[in-house]
């Protein structure tokens, strides 16, 4: 079942998704096997041998009434170090030319914003972060890369994200973080979760290597 809480990408709609998701976690429904909170929706996967749609709809309507009523813990804020440009950010030059601003200007714009994790998806631990300042809104690469290194920090349109493992992808790469975004042996397995707040800060190559 898909619970829709709006039809737009906005921090407010996304916050309501988070609230409902937290309420559901604190009031678990037997037979629900998976929930996937996203930008504007909460996917609920249930075992049809234990629950049917009417039952789960009723339960969710009750829980939805609690949005705004009960106190939800504040999302955590995570600071993420990034070495920008050079071999770590192969699209930095292109992005800076595209917007006719200096590389430092791009870094300032990217680090000067506090982002919200709208969704974790595409692959384990990949955070979709918004919203990128308008002055940095950039189209995807015309030809996607076949290999993007682990930890790459990239942008596309009004979003920024981090590749948790080496993978193909079409976003423009600005830099790389030494932090590990996903570790299946940790609990929770991802550094970030939906609803968290993120700030990037710039480090140099030496600091990057020390981090590892």
């Amino acid at each position: 079942m898909l619970v829709e809480l709006g039809d737009e990408i906005s921090p407010e709609v996304n916050r309501r998704v988070r609230e409902l998701s937290v309420i559901l976690m604190e009031n678990p429904i037997e037979g629900v096997i998976e929930t996937v909170p996203a930008y504007r929706s909460l996917l609920i996967i249930y075992d049809p041998l234990k629950l049917d749609l009417v039952m789960i709809k009723n339960r969710m309507e009750d829980l939805q009434k609690k949005i705004g009523e009960i106190e939800i813990p504040e999302p955590k804020t995570v600071e993420i170090p990034v070495v920008y440009g050079g071999e770590y950010g192969p699209d930095m030059e292109w992005v800076s030319q595209y917007h006719s601003i200096s590389v430092d200007g791009v870094i300032q714009l990217h680090t000067g914003t506090r982002y919200q994790v709208y969704m974790i998806g595409f692959m384990p631990g990949f955070p979709y972060l918004g919203e990128l300042p308008e002055g940095l809104a950039t189209p995807r690469r015309e030809t996607p890369r076949t290999v993007i290194p682990q930890g790459s920090v990239a942008i596309a349109q009004r979003q920024t994200g981090i590749y948790p493992v080496e993978s193909p992808g079409g976003w423009q790469i600005l830099g790389r973080t030494p932090l590990k975004l996903f570790n299946p042996l940790h609990s929770p397995p991802a550094l970030l979760e939906m609803g968290d707040l993120v700030r990037f800060f710039s480090i140099d190559e030496k600091e990057f290597k020390q981090w590892q």
Binding site: L2, D7, E8, I9, S21, I33, E34, T35, V36, P37, A38, Y39, R40, S41, L42, L43, I45, P48, L49, D52, L53, M119, I120, G121, F122, M123, P124, G125, F126, Y128, P164, V165, S167, F182, P184, L185, S187, P188, P189, A190, E193, M194
Partner: protein, 342 residues
């Protein structure tokens, strides 16, 4: 000795991996369920050799796996008929057999279906990662070292009790699925069917689609008549969670049936394959023809309950054997990680 070596891989074939019923509860971190695509065959294989239904099995795709047994074991092969041979004799499927130490088992080609499941009595000794023994192939964790199996791998049993007494069990003939090259999959419309035209909805129900070669455990790509969206409806949507069986329609109008290696997607879903038919998706191969048939949600529940009754009936006849764990401390010694021993 806490574990015993059971099987050595001589050749792996194009894709063989260890899978159980799947990994649930981590979708919010972007972790897909993975797991066996044909869970009906996986459950049957496990019950045949006295295992619990969610034990990990080898999922063999197409052909090419060849193994040698390192001790006497009981095994069962279910799912698609990939022409299994024991030494040089064809091996019956959907039945439990003892393989003697030194026997070889090979899968020589596709007769019907696309994936076989090989269960071994006592299971495979694997560490659970995020609550499952399934292999996540894209991020490389779970299963055996987080990767497909390869030549030289040696598997161990996580029990000293090899279930040899289960030899000779047969899965009831009338419950064994028949895999043809034409598939009729039952669907319920939604969640975004209202964003397609009446014509588009009719196209999906009345057209045969051919399975593309670009299909994998992430999705089955179909080729056929384009499914029409309503005018002014953009080709992509704000990304959201997806479930296995969802039929998404990207910009080119060619449907893709979502499988088990992805949790989010940015295209509209016109319909969803019913849970009872999901195991069939694991047996559909490139070149096959697929048509869709609409059923009501109530019918979908009923069909699933009927299927579950069949499995339950078999399980009542042959309940899983209790697992005899070796001494706990010795298990922990060889486990490098994992929340619970055993």
């Amino acid at each position: 000795m806490a574990v015993v070596e059971t099987i050595e891989v001589l050749t792996s074939g194009p894709l063989t991996s260890l899978q159980d019923l799947g990994r649930f509860g981590y979708g919010r971190y972007g972790v897909p369920p993975s797991g066996a695509l044909d869970i009906f065959s996986l459950r049957a294989a496990n019950l045949l050799v006295g295992n619990k239904e969610n034990e990990a099995c080898l999922e063999i795709t197409m052909f090419g796996l060849k193994i040698k047994t390192l001790r006497d074991v009981v095994i069962a092969v279910t799912g698609g008929d990939l022409r299994p041979f024991c030494n040089d004799k064809p091996l019956s499927m959907w039945v439990s057999f003892i393989l003697k130490e030194g026997d070889t088992l090979s899968f020589r080609g596709m007769k019907s279906g696309f994936r076989s499941y090989l269960a071994i009595g006592g299971g495979f000794f694997l560490t659970e990662v995020l609550g499952s023994r399934s292999t996540n192939l894209s991020s490389g964790f779970g299963g055996f070292d987080g990767r497909p199996v390869k030549k030289g791998d040696i598997f161990t049993a996580h029990s000293l009790h090899p279930h040899l007494e289960t030899e000779g069990r047969w899965f009831p003939q009338d419950l064994i699925p028949r895999y043809r090259r034409e598939w009729r999959l039952r669907v319920i419309f939604g969640p975004q069917d209202d964003q397609f035209t009446e014509e588009g909805r009719n196209t999906v129900l009345n057209s045969p689609y051919q399975v593309s070669h670009q299909s994998d455990r992430t999705g089955i790509r179909l080729a056929g008549p384009s499914v029409e969206r309503r005018p002014n409806v953009h080709e992509s949507i704000i990304s959201e969670g997806v479930i296995p069986g969802a039929i998404q329609v990207p910009g080119d109008g060619q449907p893709i049936i979502i499988l088990v290696e992805i949790v989010t997607g940015g295209y509209r879903k016109i319909a969803t394959v019913i849970t009872a038919d999901l195991p069939l998706l694991g047996q559909i191969k490139p070149g096959d023809m697929v048509t869709f048939e609409e059923v009501s949600l109530d019918d979908a529940y009923e069909i699933l309950r009927e299927m579950e009754e069949k499995i339950k009936g078999f399980r009542r006849r042959y309940p899983p054997l209790p697992r005899r764990l070796p001494a706990l401390h010795s298990v922990c010694l060889i486990q490098t990680y994992g929340p619970v021993c055993g």
